[in-house]
Amino acid sequence: MGLRVSGRLIAPGRAHAPALVLEEPLSLWGGLDPATGRVIEPRHPQHGELVTGRVLLMPAARGSSSSASVLAEAARAGTAPAGIVLGEPDLILAIGAAVADELYGIQVPIAVVTPDVLAEVRTGEPVDIGPEGLTAD
């Protein structure tokens, strides 16, 4: 078994998918195109990467309060990440995930772990999010 951590879930659900590590915080509003599922912020190190079907890891969410709408819209369009792992709780993303669940029955689980755990995971490694927390091989 690999690393196992009891991360706190601020949005429920299960995910099993490869990791996409964001080297800098991303505002989903202006940063993620819900039509394509790609990172569109030109200055972001992961510009052009596809988030769909991957577990997004970032130290913190950033910026606009409209990111909740973008996450819900991405879930509706089928382009949302499989799950999200953050280094600190984020109310805006948690509410976006809750609305996606309410409207469409689509869960985007969000786990909060300590920054050192976040730093252990590399892009492409399989990551599990479940009720017991985050697991990475």
Binding site: W29, P42, S66, S69, E73, L91, I95, A98, E102, L103
Partner: protein
């Protein structure tokens, strides 16, 4: 309880869990930003609320939407997108929200919460103003959450709703090399705001050493820029904002956790980042972000002084529909139109397809507009003072004055 209200309450309870709040507290008012269209999900959500019989239970103002409902001919984009944006705005009215459609609800006499009042506001500049300048109490509420709070009349007892969390952690001072005459220029404040936001991130900040009694329009510009470059929801300005008669008050008697000095070089650099260079032709000037106050509209009319914007320059001034109707009554709106200005309400020129030539160069006096317009509408931005903007609109090219000295 209807299904719409129950949905809103589930979101509030989820928020309380995320914030690890001990209880919910009542609010007296809300400002809702969710009426700006961000895709089908935003319509599906409000439909669920309206069809589920929900209405707001506190006095609730609405932020800008996608469309100027009073001047729909100003929309230059996809008509289908306009009708979706308009439908979203209508649905929020159906919840019982006031159709104010402004990012500056604090400029409406009957929408200003008192000091200490618990409210739930969305829109970053409005949040910063409510907390900092009015001394009301709100967290940064985002889409869905703001209207859920308005419908339930409740928010989690967390963050800036609690007195202790309102203490400044970071103290920022201006360096000795910043000339005093600059402190009396409007254009300092958005530039300083950009720097303050970068330094503060999400921390409560106190700015010390400015002259006392700084006016609301300057604090508005400072806060809007700081809430763009950072996640600033509360800034104290010692001697000007209600929770900071002294630095000790802003710090609630504690020691600052961090201190920073902003030098003249920092300010010059921030101004350059906003678009401080450029002496060439411009195609548009956009004023009124956040929405212009009555005093700002009158100032623009005075600066125009009976002259007319140059051919080929679109001069756009954004304000609230309520402020516009005052300006219509006192003649200011007429003077602006005679000078060639277009008056935009209910929306803003950096979030909707309004400008004839959005790629620019567009000149603005707003730190917030300069910060967001390049990514949002692809504009090349030139930042300047209100006076420089007006002179440039008349000349058709960038006109600079001596405010920042010869660089």
């Amino acid at each position: 309880m209807g299904t719409g209200t129950a949905l809103a309450m589930r979101l509030i309870v989820r928020a309380a869990e995320v914030l690890e709040a001990d209880r919910l507290i009542p609010i007296t008012g809300a400002h809702v930003d969710s009426c700006l269209y961000h895709g089908q999900a935003t319509l599906d959500f409000v439909d669920r609320l309206v069809d589920g019989g929900a209405t707001v239970r506190v006095s609730t103002t609405l932020n800008v939407g996608s469309v100027d409902l009073l001047h729909p001919e100003l929309w230059r984009g996809d008509p289908d997108l306009a009708s979706r944006g308009r439908r979203l705005m209508d649905r929020y009215r159906a919840l019982g929200c006031r159709p104010t459609f402004t990012c500056a609800p604090y400029q409406l006499a009957d929408a200003r919460p008192a000091r200490g009042e618990q409210v739930a506001w969305g829109e970053s500049n409005a949040i910063a103003f409510a907390n900092s300048v009015l001394g009301a109490r709100t967290n940064r509420y985002g889409d869905f959450m703001d209207v859920a709070a308005a419908i339930t009349g409740r928010v989690p007892n967390a963050g800036l709703h609690r007195s202790g969390e309102r203490r400044a952690r970071l103290v920022i001072r201006l360096g000795d090399d910043v000339p005093w005459r600059l402190l009396d220029e409007d254009t300092l404040y958005p530039v300083l705001g950009l720097v303050v936001g970068r330094l503060a991130g999400g921390r409560v900040v106190a700015v010390d050493g400015l002259p006392p009694g700084i006016g609301e329009d300057r604090l508005k510009a400072l806060g809007a820029a700081a809430a763009s470059s950072g996640s600033v929801a509360l800034f104290h300005v010692v001697g000007s904002t209600p929770e900071a008669p002294t630095l000790t008050d802003a710090l609630q008697g504690a020691a600052p956790e961090a201190e920073a000095v902003v030098s003249m070089d920092d300010l010059r650099q921030a101004r350059t980042e906003l678009g401080g260079e450029g002496g060439g032709p411009i195609v548009a000037v956009s004023l009124g972000t956040p929405h212009a106050s009555t005093a700002e509209l009158a100032e623009v009319a005075d600066l125009l002084a009976g002259r007319h914007a140059a051919d080929g320059v679109e001069l756009l001034v954004s304000t609230a529909r309520d402020t516009l109707s005052e300006a219509e009554a006192d003649g200011v709106a007429g003077r602006l139109r005679e000078a060639g200005a277009e008056l935009l309400v209910d929306t803003c020129s950096y979030i909707s397809p309004i400008l004839r030539a959005p790629n620019g160069p567009v000149m603005t006096d707003s730190g917030k507009w300069a910060y967001y317009a390049p990514a949002n509408i692809g504009a090349q931005v030139v930042f300047g003072s209100r006076r420089e903007c007006v002179e440039s609109a008349i000349a058709g090219h960038v006109v600079r004055d001596a405010t920042w000295g010869s660089a």
